[in-house]
């Protein structure tokens, strides 16, 4: 399997990273080598082995339904790249044709 620069560009789009042409050229062969190496996992793990997502068994955790203080709006908005009218200001979320 050879990962092309085009494949990497496609993955980067899915991951919302706008890579440059130069980065794509460098990354494609690097990622190819990494993926080829990690593909070794298929050598051992057979059908009847259950997958582990977590080292310790996970159980759902509940807490008492009590009121607790949360972060104030001012504190949260202070970290925002842009805020307006006491809200996060974000770029347009719809396409031109919408």
């Amino acid at each position: 399997m050879a990962l092309t620069a085009e494949d990497v560009a496609n993955l980067a789009r899915l991951a919302r990273i706008e890579l440059t042409e130069a980065e794509l050229e460098v990354l494609a062969p690097q990622l190819d080598v990494i993926l080829e190496s990690v593909a070794r996992v298929s050598e051992v793990a057979a059908q009847d082995i259950p997958p582990t997502s977590h080292a310790l068994p996970l159980t759902n955790v509940f807490r008492e339904d009590e009121l607790r203080p949360s972060l104030s709006r001012d504190v949260v908005l202070a970290a925002a790249p842009a805020a307006e009218l006491m809200r996060f200001r974000v770029p347009r979320i719809l396409g031109e044709e919408a």
Binding site: V8, L11, A12, R13, L14, A15, R16, I17, E18, L19, T20, E23, L27, Q30, L31, V33, I34, L35, S37, V38, A39, R40, V41, S42, E43, V44, A45, A46, I49, P50, P51, T52, S53, H54, A55, L56, L58, V61, R63, L71, V75, V76, A78, A79, A80, P81, A82, F88, V90, P91, R92, I93, L94, G95
Partner: protein
């Protein structure tokens, strides 16, 4: 390393335990102790670059509060007044948390991590935030957006990673204690290559609340120190159940301090993992490792060779599981609620701004791993990659279970090689990943694991670490073995390993 100021030189050479005792008996003030370490940072950190942020004023103020408490005869904790360096991936209100990334440059977190809260509640003095590979992705700190940290043993070399800043700060006597986080070896590998002690508690043993997540099923905060007892005392301060972390273990913390004080390994069964050695391991690493094992045998431990056949698949499994989790965790850096925003010109869409911001804000390794993770999780590849990796994870846990049915702890070298030169592996990601060969199995299985100094490799005079792995919730066994090794080696060496660094003037 030259210790130029005589008064400070004496203070900064003390262990955390000694400093706490002297502060409590008022032989030294906490302010004096803090100032000595701040002076040391000012003296050497331009070269070492362990710190991304030094919080001098607040550190002095917290030290003064400890002195006031002591003067008033109030009860203080066992490490009250002792300075500490905090890895810059745990939040601490009032100080920026960057995670070594441009995407979070200048971000002031609105809350304290539970680990931070516990440190403050126990009267430790936080000196500042330490350097790391961006979002803890790396084994050398070269992936920090703010430049690499240098190894105090040889400043042309890496201090390990991702917690190279914390380990270097401790090794360079800038702080007696530090906090690290370990996802694939980020506490243990830096400890090994800097001649310090680093412990990864059992997964769930210390809280991840306020730790900016890399891979949630693997991340674990833990102590960094120069001595085994200091690490144990710090472990006790930060560990324990936290309702804010859903994977936190609601059980008593193992008595790590008593274990470190006992140092008794008589009759303990110690397993040597046959897969973690041989080809690819430096001669001096193997030599010091085998000497350490012989020494443990001479102290009354029974040595048994143990095979963990699936450990050789830990590295590939890890480099699928970690990227998968990190690609999802780092999706939150979307340029909307915090951190960097690039290209918001009133025309670009939210999606375009997000893509431009992540392009500008993330470094090369972060991009590599996010893309690998995206690939591994994409339909058509999920089963062959991520699914298979999760099965390998099961096989590794089974190897551990089987091994721990025969022995009390397992040992191996902490890392196959000693500290390498800065720049040597930056263009070869796979070679860089090999540094985590020995440490990764414990992250995948979630058991407790530590690195202790085992001496210097004869060929290059650089530190070698002994890794000790214990079953989940048997963290105390790590300290028992570490303390036994430390006591015997130090009596052979005529003092701590780091004394050899302090006395020879490595930092010019």
């Amino acid at each position: 390393m030259t210790l130029r100021q005589p008064a400070n030189a004496e203070i900064i050479r003390h262990t955390a335990v000694d400093l706490a005792a002297k502060i409590k008996s008022r032989e030294l003030s906490a302010v004096e102790v803090t100032q000595a370490h701040l002076d040391r940072i000012a003296e050497v950190d331009e070269e070492i670059h362990a710190f991304l942020y030094v919080d001098a004023e607040r550190a002095r103020a917290s030290a003064a509060r400890v002195d006031a408490k002591v003067a008033a005869g109030n009860e203080v904790g066992p490490l009250a007044g002792v300075p500490l360096a905090l890895k810059d991936i745990l939040t601490y209100t009032g100080a920026p948390t960057t995670c070594g990334s441009k995407i979070l440059e200048g971000w002031l977190p609105p809350y304290d991590a539970t680990v931070t809260r516990r440190l403050l509640d126990h009267d430790l003095v936080i000196l500042g935030k330490t350097n790391l590979d961006e979002f803890a992705m790396g084994s050398s700190t070269e992936n920090s957006a703010y430049g690499p940290t240098r190894n105090p043993w040889d400043t042309d070399r890496i201090p390990g990673g991702s917690g190279g800043g914390s380990a270097a700060a401790v090794a360079a006597y800038q702080a007696p204690l530090a906090i690290g986080t370990d996802t694939g070896g980020s506490i243990r590998q830096p400890a090994a290559v800097t001649g310090t002690v680093g412990v990864k508690p059992t997964y769930g043993g210390s809280s991840r609340y306020g730790l900016v997540a890399l891979a949630s099923s693997l991340d674990q905060p833990g102590p960094c120190a120069r001595t085994v007892l200091d690490a144990a005392l710090l472990h006790e301060v930060i560990a324990g159940h936290d309702p804010c972390d859903s994977t936190s273990i609601d059980r008593p913390v193992p008595d790590v301090v008593a274990a470190a004080r006992s140092a008794d390994i008589t009759g303990m069964k110690i397993g040597v993992v046959s897969e973690l050695g041989g080809e690819g391991y430096a001669t001096g690493v193997e030599q010091r490792f085998h000497e350490a094992v012989e020494l443990l045998a001479s102290l009354g431990a029974e040595i048994i060779e143990v095979s963990c056949p699936h450990f050789v698949y830990a590295l590939p499994a890890y480099y699928l599981i970690l990227p998968a989790e990190c690609s999802s965790n780092l999706a939150k850096f979307d340029a909307m609620r915090y951190g960097l925003r690039v290209g918001d010109d009133g025309i670009a869409s939210a999606e375009q701004v997000m893509a431009m911001t992540r392009e500008a804000g993330f470094g090369a390794e972060v991009k590599r791993r996010i893309i690998i993770g995206t690939y591994a999780l994409s339909s058509g590849y999920y089963e062959a990659y991520y699914g298979q990796a999760q099965k390998v994870r099961t096989l590794i846990s089974r190897d551990f279970d089987k091994a721990f049915s025969q022995v009390d702890v397992l040992v191996s070298p902490s890392t196959p090689i000693t500290a390498f030169k800065i720049g040597e592996k930056v263009n070869d990601p796979l070679a860089m990943y090999m540094n985590d060969l020995c440490t990764i199995p414990s992250n995948l299985a979630g058991n407790a694991s530590a690195s202790f100094p085992a001496g210097l490799a004869p060929e290059d005079g650089l530190p070698v670490g002994l890794q000790v792995m214990a079953p989940p919730l048997a963290d105390d066994r790590l300290y028992r073995v570490g303390a036994a090794l430390e006591a015997t080696l130090e009596s052979d060496w005529g003092g701590p390993l780091l004394d050899q660094l302090a006395d020879r003037g490595a930092v010019r």
